[in-house]
C-alpha cells in the first residue's frame, strides 16, 4: 500500500493547486446533488399537498390548470360554478362529501379562500395528516378568518386582530369597510395552506354584497347591515369531492364532465399531477444533463492539473525509481492521486450541500413552498457519487500512462 501513502504525501506537498481542484469537483458535486434534491423535494412537496380527495371539480378549463389554481393557488379560474350545480353534484349518488372553494380575493399577497367549516376536517395532506390549530378555532361568525402559518409568521397577526381583505390577487381595492377578525391560526403544513387566509363562504358574499359590476357602489353597506342580509353563496370557484366507492370514480367523473346544466370539469388529483410532471419533465432532464456536464468538466480540470504537473515531477519520479519503485508503482500512484482528489471533492461537496441545505431550507419553504427534507443520500445519489470517483480514477489513467512512459525513458536519472 505504499503507493497510497506516497500519493497522499505527494498531494499534500502541492496543497494549493490540489485544494483548488478539489473545490472545483466539490462545487460540481453540489450542483448535481442539489439539483436532484430540489427536484425530488419539489415533486414530493407537490404530491404531499393533497391527500384523501378523490375528485376536484371546477369550471371547464384544463385538468392541470384546475389542479394548479384550486389546490396550489397558482393561476386563476376561467369561470365560476353556480351554487345549484354544486348542490346537484353533492346530491349525486356515490358522492360521500363535497367541500366548496371560493377564490378571488387576497390579503397582502396571500390568497383568501372561502369555504365551509368542513374543510378543516376534510383537507388532508402528506398521506392523511389533517389540519391542526395552534390557537383559536374554525369560524363561527360571518367575519371570522383562519390564517395559515406563513401568513402569521411574516405579517405577525395574533388572535382577534382585524384583517382587511383585498379584491383580486394583487390590488389597490380593499374591503376596508368590512374587516375580518382572526379567529384561528393553523399549524405549519408545508403546503399552500400555510400561505392562505381562510374565511367562510358567507364572509365572501358579505364583502361583495354591495359591489356592482366589479366596483363598489355608492352608499355601501356596513358590516352590521351586511350581516342581516341573506348571505348564501351564489357561485363558487371549485369543489373537493370524496366518493363512497373508488371503483365508481370514473363513472362519477364522467357524470360531472357530462353535466348538461353547466360546463364542468372533474379531475383526479393524482392524474393531473402526473400530467404536470410530464410537462415539467423535459426541463428536469435538461437540468440533469447540465449538471452531469459540469461534473465531467470538473473532472477534466483535474486531469489537466495532473498532466500539467507531470513535467515538474520528473525529478521526483527519478528519485522514486532510484530507491526501488518500478514504473508500475509510479502509474498506480498517479491513479491513486486522481482517485483521492475525486473522493475528497465528493466528500467536500456533500458537506457543502448539507451545510447549504441547513442554511436555506427554511427560506426555500417560506418563499417557494418547496420543503426539502434533510434526509441522507439516497441509493441513486450514492451510486452517482461512486461513479464520479471511479470516473476520476479512470480519468487519472491518462496522465498515469504518460508518467509510466516518462519514467521508463528517463530511467533513474534525469537531466533537467
Amino acid at each position: 500500500m505504499i503507493f497510497a501513502r506516497l500519493a497522499f504525501r505527494s498531494l499534500a506537498a502541492r496543497w494549493l493547486t490540489v485544494s483548488l481542484t478539489i473545490l472545483a469537483i466539490a462545487l460540481s458535486v453540489v450542483l448535481f446533488l442539489g439539483v436532484e434534491k430540489i427536484r425530488n423535494g419539489a415533486k414530493a412537496s407537490f404530491a404531499d399537498t393533497i391527500s384523501g380527495t378523490d375528485l376536484i371539480v371546477g369550471a371547464r378549463s384544463g385538468s392541470v390548470q384546475l389542479l394548479l389554481y384550486s389546490v396550489f393557488r397558482i393561476g386563476n379560474a376561467t369561470n365560476n360554478v353556480t351554487w345549484e350545480s354544486f348542490e346537484d353534484i353533492r346530491e349525486m349518488p356515490g358522492v360521500a362529501w363535497a367541500i366548496p372553494l371560493s377564490l378571488g380575493d387576497s390579503h397582502r399577497g396571500y390568497r383568501v379562500l372561502g369555504t365551509t367549516a368542513e374543510y378543516f376536517d376534510r383537507y388532508k395532506f402528506r398521506a392523511g395528516k389533517g389540519l391542526e390549530f395552534t390557537s383559536g378555532v374554525a369560524f363561527d361568525d360571518v367575519f371570522d378568518a383562519v390564517l395559515g402559518a406563513d401568513v402569521v409568521a411574516s405579517l405577525g397577526y395574533k388572535l382577534d386582530d382585524p384583517i382587511i381583505v383585498s379584491h383580486g390577487i394583487a390590488s389597490f381595492t380593499h374591503h376596508e369597510d368590512k374587516p375580518f377578525r382572526v379567529a384561528g391560526i393553523l399549524a405549519k403544513t408545508g403546503t399552500p395552506v400555510d400561505r392562505t387566509v381562510i374565511v367562510s363562504l358567507e364572509g365572501i358574499e358579505a364583502i361583495h354584497v354591495d359591489w356592482v359590476g366589479g366596483g363598489r357602489a355608492a352608499g355601501s353597506l356596513t358590516a352590521e347591515q351586511a350581516r342581516t342580509l341573506d348571505l348564501s353563496p351564489k357561485a363558487i370557484t371549485a369543489a373537493m369531492i370524496g366518493v363512497e366507492s373508488k371503483l365508481r370514480i370514473f363513472t362519477l367523473q364522467r357524470a360531472i364532465n357530462d353535466y348538461a346544466e353547466e360546463p364542468l370539469l372533474a379531475v383526479l388529483p393524482g392524474v393531473a399531477l402526473q400530467e404536470l410532471w410530464a410537462v415539467v419533465g423535459v426541463a428536469e432532464t435538461a437540468l440533469l444533463g447540465v449538471s452531469l456536464m459540469v461534473v465531467a468538466t470538473a473532472l477534466i480540470g483535474m486531469v489537466a492539473m495532473i498532466f500539467a504537473g507531470l513535467n515538474e515531477r520528473r525529478r521526483e519520479m527519478a528519485i522514486l525509481r532510484s530507491v526501488g519503485a518500478g514504473p508500475g508503482l509510479i502509474m498506480t500512484m498517479l491513479i491513486a492521486e486522481a482517485a483521492l482528489i475525486a473522493a475528497a471533492g465528493a466528500a467536500v461537496g456533500v458537506a457543502i450541500l448539507y451545510a447549504g441545505l441547513a442554511a436555506l431550507q427554511t427560506w426555500l419553504d417560506a418563499t417557494y413552498g418547496i420543503y426539502i427534507p434533510p434526509t441522507g443520500l439516497g441509493e441513486r445519489e450514492m451510486i452517482t457519487l461512486a461513479a464520479a470517483v471511479a470516473a476520476g480514477a479512470l480519468a487519472g489513467l491518462a496522465p498515469a500512462a504518460r508518467a509510466y512512459f516518462i519514467s521508463l525513458s528517463d530511467g533513474m536519472s534525469v537531466k533537467m
Binding site: 414530493a44 404531499d48 402528506r126
Partner: protein, 173 residues
C-alpha cells in the same frame, strides 16, 4: 502498511461483495397471469347494450349512457384469494411524496370520449404494498398481488375487483 494490512483490506472487500441476496418472491407462490378478458363473465350482455340503444335511436353518436342507468356487470370469482399478475395501466388515486399507495388498474388510458369508461369488471382497485413511484400514465405495467372481489373486502360496498399487496414492474411484452 505491512502485508498483513493488505490482506485484511482484501478480506474486508470480499465480505462486502458477499452480501446474501434478498430472495424476491421465493416465499410466495408463483402468480398466475390473467388477462382482461378473463375477468369478464361468460354470459354476454355488456357489449351489446350500447348497440341496442343506438339501434333503437335512444342515444345519438357521441352521447354516453346516463351513468345512473349503467347495467350491473357480472363478476368472475375464479381468481379469488389467489396471487395474480395482470398487465394494465395504473391510474393513481392516492399519492404521497414517496409514490402511489392506491390506484386503479385499467386496460386502456386516453380512449376517445364517446365511449363510456371501463365497466366495473374491467377495473381493479390496487392497494400497493409500499409506495411506488410512477413515472407516467402511459407506461404499461404488470401488477402482481392478491386478487379478490370487492364484495369480500370490507370497506368497498360496490361490486368490483381488488388487488392487495400489489407490486408493479414495467411491462416489456
Amino acid at each position: 502498511m505491512s502485508r498483513l494490512n493488505r490482506r485484511a483490506l482484501l478480506a474486508g472487500l470480499t465480505l462486502i461483495a458477499a452480501q446474501p441476496y434478498r430472495a424476491y418472491g421465493e416465499d410466495q407462490p408463483p402468480a398466475k397471469t390473467v388477462y382482461w378478458k378473463d375477468l369478464l363473465p361468460e354470459t354476454e350482455g355488456e357489449g351489446t347494450f350500447i348497440e341496442t340503444l343506438r339501434d333503437l335511436n335512444l342515444i345519438q353518436q357521441g352521447e354516453t349512457l346516463p351513468w345512473r342507468k349503467q347495467p350491473p356487470v357480472g363478476m368472475v370469482s375464479d381468481f379469488n384469494e389467489r396471487r395474480v399478475r395482470i398487465p394494465g395501466y395504473v391510474v393513481p388515486l392516492t399519492l404521497d411524496g414517496e409514490g402511489v399507495t392506491e390506484g386503479l388498474l385499467v386496460p386502456y388510458v386516453g380512449a376517445c370520449i364517446h365511449v363510456p369508461p371501463p365497466p366495473a369488471n374491467q377495473i381493479v382497485f390496487l392497494r400497493f404494498e409500499k409506495p411506488t413511484p410512477q413515472d407516467g400514465l402511459w407506461d404499461p405495467v404488470w401488477a402482481t398481488g392478491r386478487f379478490n372481489m370487492a364484495a369480500v373486502e370490507t370497506d368497498l360496498a360496490e361490486a368490483g375487483y381488488v388487488m392487495t399487496e400489489t407490486a408493479t414492474e414495467p411491462y416489456t411484452g
